[in-house]
């Protein structure tokens, strides 16, 4: 059907503005889809490859001290493939010119060089050489935070002995993609680092000659980690084993997988919403487009083209646009995706990143958008084709107008003639007006969805670090200490308030479900660390029992009144039970809380504290930090102020970037939709408007009729769009809950107004484009050709 195909291409060419706008909408949807899923795939594939190539261990256990031959016992456990023992030590680090207390975990490297498990990827320099004194390899994140280069020096205090060290290499490890200070919920690369030393030297420095205090294990393929863990715990019990755990409970892995989980939700939700919106818009636009070609459909039918021919014609038309849009979208998606993965590679410090676009993904994107588009087209073409040709061909009957409701309510005399035309026109075809409003509203909604995430994170951080946590410095001790330690700190100059806390690392168990976290002891009358209810009011801890973060309760499947088993992971590793006395709603991290005294009673260890919260005026803080650094029992001091920043830099950033990219795509969608609405309205009305011009209306007057209508529709759409946007955001967030954080739905007015502004600007630009078309309206041509 040559002539018809010719018509196809010519129509497409004549509508190039509109076709481009539709193609852009599809492109944005497809781009989000391709970008999100290919990025996600790259991250997952890379993580797996990194773990495999650098032999990330599968089971881990820390213990007090075991002689090296114990390794053989572990090797003998069924299901164990490879065992590596090592020595680790906590150290406080002195870096010249850096004020805050810095701590590090130092790990041993085997004498023969490369470890069997958890191998290092050297970014710079070399590994430590046996026999050479005082060499150290540092983790890249830590090195980057302090701009370390091989050759730089630092000193470490291990077991009270200070040791000068020379950096010989900077490395990455699959074990520490996230480097989290024990007990912290947010990484801080400046005040906590990972260091690797030769085994020999570390043994000497930490009094571990011929012994080890950590063991990592690789399993035989298909072995059950739970069984191995049980046997390991038995084997290590008398060496002060602190409980073996699998990757699932390994901090770095857990954070990473939780974060990927959040990202995956986002990567699925955004495309679902965007493609859904794009499909809906496409349907609206195509429906209206075909409506304007109703008479052409009738002519074709009158000449004997079958309904199938006509439908195929328009389906081809739409498919062309879809193909154009998807091609564009795939290209943009790959570009954004590879850019994003590069950013993620730097962010997670993966040694490499495997990015590729699977053809299946591209094909899926095309199929989804084609299906959506065709579904909408079929419906409207069939509707147009169902009209008897005779009907469609009759000279356009004067449309049935009537006095509008607005006018009937007595406003009539306030409205001039053109305004009446606008109002009556909208009232005459309320469905069409509603569709336009919904279309523009969705454009506004996707912008809200793109932007709300930052608001939610801001709110969450604000609650956590201003309302809940109100100290200035959190001091943690190397080992639980007596309350006397708190009074020592309270006497430091400039310290205003102090409040102790106890933190007991534990595996919480309910039924077959477990979760590794810490039970926090909070003193009665707590002021510096508060628990908040849903209305953000402080709640007091009950004198008995344990209070859980509601999300933790969900993970464990436990409820108020149930008995929680607490398997303590320090000291003598007692196993205790406590009744769940309540739940608190927390946005960041998951914890269990007890009254400090109740916790100490339960532990039967006397009044011990793990650390102290303190407040001090800003000018006094450097001196305090300096003093803290000199106290051997202080393991670390964290400034709350830094926690904000760290949260953004480490945990929320990748999601914020993701949301930002999506906001840009959302803006494209908004522009495409509004422009299309304007253009379709123009083609629907050009005959009428040209007739008015013939009757003596000015350009300004007819523009007012058309653009006034557009403006009215846009203004109606904004509040609707904000409501839809909020709902979509809620759906999205409900799917993004992780251990790490659970952002609430918070949308600032600025996000709404940003969305509204983008839509308004899009409307303005479209208005200008349409106005220019109106100014060049060829009256003769419009009236002559009965389109």
């Amino acid at each position: 059907m040559l002539a018809l195909n010719r018509k196809l291409f010519r129509d497409l060419w004549w509508m190039k503005g509109q076709a481009t706008a539709i193609a852009l909408v599809i492109a944005s949807g497809v781009a989000t889809f391709v970008m999100s899923l290919s990025t996600l795939e790259a991250l997952t594939v890379t993580q797996a490859a990194y773990y495999r190539d650098y032999r990330f261990a599968e089971v881990f256990s820390a213990l007090k001290r075991a002689p090296e031959p114990v390794r053989l016992q572990i090797e003998a456990i069924e299901g164990v493939q490879l065992v590596e023992t090592r020595v680790t030590a906590a150290a406080s680090i002195d870096i010249e010119g850096f004020e805050d207390p810095v701590t590090a975990q130092i790990l041993s490297l085997p004498a023969h060089g490369r470890p069997l498990l958890n191998q290092l990827y050297l970014k710079q320099g070399r590994l430590v050489e046996p026999g050479r004194d005082n060499e150290v390899v540092v983790s890249e994140a830590f090195a980057a935070a302090h701009r370390f280069q091989p050759g730089d020096r630092l000193s470490a205090t291990i077991r009270g002995r200070k040791k000068g060290l020379t950096i010989v290499g900077i490395a990455l490890s699959p074990e520490f993609i996230y480097q989290l200070q024990p007990g912290a919920i947010i990484p801080d690369f400046r005040t906590y680092g990972i260091l690797w030393m030769s085994r020999e030297q570390l043994e000497a420095a930490s009094d571990m000659k011929g012994a080890f205090n950590e063991v990592t294990v690789q399993l035989v393929k298909g072995a059950d980690p739970a069984l191995v863990i049980e046997r390991m715990d038995q084997a290590l019990a008398r060496y002060g084993g602190l409980g073996a755990y699998s990757r699932k409970d390994q901090i770095s892995h857990r954070y990473l997988s939780e974060e990927f989980r959040g990202l995956r939700q986002m990567a699925i939700m955004f495309p679902v919403i965007f493609l859904g919106v794009a499909a809906f818009l496409l349907n609206v636009v195509v429906t209206r487009l075909i409506d304007t070609q109703r008479e052409q459909v009738a002519i074709l039918k009158a000449f004997g083209y079958s309904t199938v021919d006509v439908v195929l014609h328009y389906v081809k038309f739409v498919l062309l646009i879809v193909l154009l849009g998807s091609a564009l979208g795939i290209a943009a998606g790959v570009w954004l995706g590879s850019g994003l993965t590069t950013m993620y590679r730097d962010f997670y410090r993966f040694p490499f990143m495997l990015y590729q676009l699977r053809p299946a993904l591209a094909i899926t994107a095309v199929l989804i958008s084609a299906a959506a588009a065709v579904a909408g087209t079929l419906w409207s073409v069939l509707r147009a084709a169902r009209v008897p040709p005779a009907e469609a061909m009759k000279p356009a009957a004067p449309a049935k107008y009537r006095v509008s409701a607005v006018e009937r309510f007595g406003l009539r005399r306030w409205l001039d003639q053109p305004t009446r035309m606008i109002v009556r026109n909208l009232e005459r075809r309320p469905l069409k007006a509603a569709l336009s409003v919904i279309g523009i509203a969705f454009a506004c909604a996707v912008l809200v969805v793109g932007g709300f995430f930052k608001d939610s994170v801001d709110f969450m951080v604000d609650v956590q670090f201003r309302l809940a946590q109100r100290d200035d410095i959190t001091v943690t001790f190397v080992e639980p200490a007596s309350p006397k330690a708190m009074f020592t700190l309270a006497r430091l100059e400039g310290v205003e308030e102090v409040e102790p806390f106890r933190s007991v690392p534990a595996r919480l168990r309910f039924g077959h479900r477990t979760y590794r976290t810490a039970v926090r002891g909070v003193p009665a009358g707590n002021r510096l660390y508060r628990l908040l209810d849903t209305r953000l009011q402080p709640v007091a801890l009950p004198p008995q029992g344990v209070v859980l973060t509601d999300y933790l309760a969900k993970i464990l499947g436990i409820g108020v009144g149930d008995r929680l088993t607490i398997e303590v992971m320090e000291g003598n590793r007692p196993v205790r039970e406590a009744t769940v006395a309540g739940l608190v709603n927390e946005f960041i991290g998951v914890s269990a809380y007890m009254d400090l005294e109740a916790l100490n009673r339960m532990m039967r260890e006397g009044p011990l504290i793990s650390g102290v919260y303190l407040t001090a005026q800003r000018p006094a803080r450097p001196a305090i930090l300096d003093k803290l650094k000199q106290m051997p029992r202080v393991a670390g001091a964290a400034m709350r102020e830094n926690a904000f920043q760290n949260f953004y830099e480490t945990m929320a950033r990748q999601m914020l970037i993701f949301a930002f990219v999506n906001t840009i795509l959302a803006a494209t969608i908004a522009l495409g939709v509004v422009y299309n609405s304007a253009r379709v309205t123009l083609s629907e009305r050009s005959r009428e408007l040209a007739s008015l011009r013939v009757l003596g209306f000015t350009r300004g007057e007819i523009s007012f009729i058309l653009l006034g209508e557009l403006a009215l529709l846009t203004l109606l759409a904004l509040p609707v769009g904000c409501v839809i946007g909020r709902q979509l955001s809620a759906v999205m967030i409900a799917n993004m809950q992780t251990d790490l954080f659970r952002a609430p739905v918070v949308i600032r007015p600025s996000t709404y107004s940003f969305a509204a502004t983008v839509v308004l600007v899009a409307a303005l630009l479209s208005g200008i484009a349409v106005r220019r078309k109106l100014d060049h309206l060829d009256l003769v041509a419009v009236l002559k050709a009965r389109e």
Partner: protein
Amino acid sequence: MAEHDTVFTARGLTKIYRMGEIEVHALRGIDLDLYPGEFVVLLGPSGSGKSTLLNILGGLDRATSGHVSYHGKELTGASDRELTEYRRYHVGFVFQFYNLIPSLTARENVATVTEIARQPMKPEDALALVGLAERMDHFPSQLSGGEQQRVAIARAIAKNPAVLLCDEPTGALDSATGVLVLEALERVNRDLGTTTAVITHNASIAEMADRVIHLSDGHITTLERNASKRSPHELHW
């Protein structure tokens, strides 16, 4: 005359448009036979049902009751598919408002029909027949009303239809251009033997017809046969 010698046979055709409460009786029982090769003109006041009748004959619309057959085949009750086929292979339409496809040139507009017909003319020949050989590559918006109407006629005749149905083909044209259009119609009728029915408000056009049908308020009031046909250039209005 036996039924199968007629092109169209209509018996008791009615058409009622319902608009809510109101019923409009557009046709109130039409009995009519049209014969092969004949040139018929339909006259009647506005709203008398001319277009409605033509649309039903052409398979564009369906009667409310009554029968109409084409060469002995029932059109009433035919399926959409059969009607489409009927229009595709047997009927040529010319509309009062041309109804050309604006995005296609004159030649391409004609081609839309020739491409799906069984034994079509070449689009160029059809356009030459209506005197538009020179304007084949013009778009509708670049043509005058009369030229557009002649493209519409070329489009209608290009498939060599058995019947040509024209709804006020000269309605929007001046008399000189009207004559050109009518000549084109006459030529097709004479040379190709196409049964032709033309609706008009112009009584003088009736003089070129074999028979003239007068409609009024949905009825056929008179049906007269012209003793002598005139050729279009002899007509004046």
